[in-house]
Subunit: 199 residues, 2 copies
Amino acid sequence: MKKVGIVFFDQFTDIDVVMHWDLLNRVRQYCGLADFEVKLLGTASAHVSMSGLCIPATGSLAEIKDADAVLFASGRGTRSLIQNSAYLQQLKSYLDPQRQLIAAQCSGSLLLGAIGLLRHVNVSAYPPILELLLSYGAQPVQKSFVVDRQFATASGCLAAPQLSGWLIQQLVSEQAATQVLESAAPLEDLLRPVASHAV
Amino acid sequence: MKKVGIVFFDQFTDIDVVMHWDLLNRVRQYCGLADFEVKLLGTASAHVSMSGLCIPATGSLAEIKDADAVLFASGRGTRSLIQNSAYLQQLKSYLDPQRQLIAAQCSGSLLLGAIGLLRHVNVSAYPPILELLLSYGAQPVQKSFVVDRQFATASGCLAAPQLSGWLIQQLVSEQAATQVLESAAPLEDLLRPVASHAV
């Protein structure tokens, strides 16, 4: 059994939660792997997005402990959470970077920075959070998607599939990642001759 | 005031609802246009996605009547709805193709086909629904995004931004569409020199 926890909160960016949630759940739906679990982990029974969408949590923050991979969503809500020492203390006590893959979308990186996990770590440089990333000792890189050991970060909502794809590849297989990403690709990408897929 | 209704239902595709919801709501958030309203229209107080996500509706199907643009979500749920004559009758009575922009993501086109709106209309040819589209008299085209008069269709979840972008361009302006799409673009797309943006 592989478990992924998506950590979300009030004032999350809608796409950055639901894109990952949907793509990761496709491992079961499209690859026939029943033992792949995705949970939305929060501090309340539901959280409300920046656009007013109310999405139920399917687990508590404490379930971070049980996850093989933890993915931090983005959104305006991160700005108050990086000041919330009780919240950060919880993250710190539940996360285990020695054992887990740790991923963040856009401003989700701030939470990792605030608990000291990004010192000397290459991270995707989302412009609105560049200064804060530097203040946390991170090494921002001008790429949509960056992997540094167990840490993976993506910038721009539409870079989310690269991050989900990487998690699936690491936790399941390259083939499963390809299957899932193709199931969401724009039609024309699927119609291109195989040779240009590789480009 | 411009109003967009996103029609969704049980067994919807998560990305195909939330991507449009988020991007369309950014017209208010990123372009400062307060008089742009987006509603999630359903037949119940909430609908559950193919991945088990429960999302509240923010309006009833009858509010299709008030919309300047109506966007049909996709998902397995369309397959039972195209057999549900009471549901189709409601869509038919509320939609006004003379006045409204009518858009569909992937299998959302089936609902338009089932109420007879796609005869001799060019539509994006999402492979799993190709035969049904033909049976409705539609003219499938092998493109991710197709516009034919007031009808716009997109295939593949990640073609959704093209469809949302078109709706924003038609209802607001080209500039607003660009602003919204750039706010969700992968970081590297934003860093490319302007000349290659145009390519």
